[in-house]
Assembly symmetry: C2
Homo-oligomer: 142 residues x 2
Amino acid sequence: MAPRSCSIANALGVVGERWSLLALREVFLGVTRFDQIAANTGASRDVLTVRLKKLVAAGVLEKHQYSEHPPRYEYVLTDSGRALHNVMLMLKEWGDTYVTEGPLPLVWEHSCGAVLEPRVVCAACGEEATSESLTRAAELTH
Amino acid sequence: MAPRSCSIANALGVVGERWSLLALREVFLGVTRFDQIAANTGASRDVLTVRLKKLVAAGVLEKHQYSEHPPRYEYVLTDSGRALHNVMLMLKEWGDTYVTEGPLPLVWEHSCGAVLEPRVVCAACGEEATSESLTRAAELTH
DNA sequence: CTACTAAGTTGGCTTTCCCAACTCACATTA
DNA sequence: TAATGTGAGTTGGGAAAGCCAACTTAGTAG
């Protein structure tokens, strides 16, 4: 039996390996250079090289040369990369609530002035999208 | 330099290894038994054993015996596990948009009748929480 | 008594990971 | 001009994790 075909699996195929999401976290936080990404994530340099190459190949990051002499590069988000912001927010929210102990290492404030408490809602009606409020509309068999 | 302390890293420490989120996906879809989780994810049985044990130890899943003779078990979500639904939704949404090609393997319908298009909003004001609308409110140094 | 199912275990091999040291191209300081 | 520093990786060798198929254990069904 073949494993279930699924966008979660497809997504994890791109950003699911160790260090990938942490490298992206750094770029979201404005840290765009190899050495600093390595230091802030704790990834070993060789693995980080492989991960960044894969993220670039997948169109999540772009490698920009910001200096020709000496040659220096930075990694910037593409549209696809920026769209991962939601995933990061929810992962952070879950970690804040169920994993991290003691004071939270990072708190976001929304432009409305409140400390951000993210919620997932249905774009159509604005109501919260809980697992109970969802039904399967279609599923491919193969 | 120590790596950045962060709830995303903490979250990934619990559910970030390969197969963990796919096993959880199965439980969300109602598939709660070892053999079927193995088949539907594609995880090898030995690794799946380790992952499920870790998820149980972390309080994300609970192992329930649903038959004593013969002894049979199922895995069910805890509150912490159910809270991962948002993470899954966003990961699926990103995969749908940027990775999966062709027709989507799975579509959710919200109770309002619309096909679900999930959005992340600020609980306080209801406005969308984009990366541009957020500022860092506090960060621990250590 | 044999076959079958669920839920793992086990052994052997392959792949990936980790770490420290090294390279390379240039800039800066002495 | 020699030595030092910096950014962005590469390389090599050992340790850990992963993959697969076969085996086990406990019980049911024919």
